[in-house]
């Protein structure tokens, strides 16, 4: 049972344009979501998060949007830069209870010069 799904295994975007990475979840208990970025041979690093009481959170070039009714979130990167090329994982968790993160399959983003 895949509670968090990233249906696009890969995405290719031109430098300077907007990158949009999508994530869907099925567990209605999730009320906190995080995005992680992973370079090869390194562990994932935290990028941005959003609580279910918000529908948008912005940090510099990165914005996460949450649509609770659709159980969908998206990460927007604008403008995209070559250093953004990495695998991006979204994760969901419930604040009450175990607080363990459930991750999606990941999307490999490639930014072309």
């Amino acid at each position: 049972d895949q509670q968090v799904k990233q249906n696009s295994p890969s995405l290719s975007v031109q430098e300077g344009r907007i990158s949009i990475l999508n994530c869907d979840y099925t567990n209605s208990m999730f009320d906190y979501f995080l995005w992680y970025k992973k370079y090869p041979a390194e562990g994932p690093t935290f990028l941005i998060s959003i609580s279910s009481i918000k529908d948008k959170n912005e940090d510099g070039r990165f914005t996460v949007f949450l649509n609770k009714s659709a159980k969908h979130l998206s990460l927007h990167i604008v403008p995209s830069q070559p250093g953004d090329s990495a695998v991006y994982f979204c994760a969901g968790a419930a604040i009450q209870g175990a607080q363990k993160l459930v991750f999606g399959q990941g999307t490999r983003l490639t930014i072309n010069p």
Partner: protein, 115 residues
């Protein structure tokens, strides 16, 4: 600076061997986790621990056990390694949050190959 250290970057083991993966964090975090990463499957939780000597099963605990004798150290044990346990293993830690989920800090990972 925050640090989660995994003892080995690469390991090659034979089927049936007992394998120990070690993880140490220097942030005094209460929570520690072991995930495995496989292509197309993302990160899947194997075991986690909220405190010393405490452990909880994650989503795929079969074939694994863990040990947490000290707060800073969390070990993953493959009792009898099998080829389907060939994977990237990632250790992570976090502090305990009351009003939000605290973010995980990950180690660099151990690529385990079981032949």
């Amino acid at each position: 600076d925050v640090k989660v250290t995994q003892s080995s970057r690469y390991l090659v083991k034979r089927t049936g061997e007992k394998v120990f993966l070690e993880c140490v964090q220097d942030m005094d975090h209460e929570n520690m986790f072991w995930y495995r990463q496989d292509p197309g499957l993302g990160l899947r939780l194997i075991y986690f621990s909220y405190d010393v000597k405490m452990k909880e099963k994650g989503d795929i605990p079969e074939g694994y056990s863990v040990s947490r004798e000290k707060k800073e150290r969390f070990s993953l044990i493959l009792e009898s390694a099998s080829t389907n346990q060939t994977s990237m293993y990632l250790c992570a830690s976090s502090s305990s949050g009351r009003i939000r989920v605290e973010k995980l800090f990950f180690g660099s990972g151990t690529q385990l190959s079981v032949l």
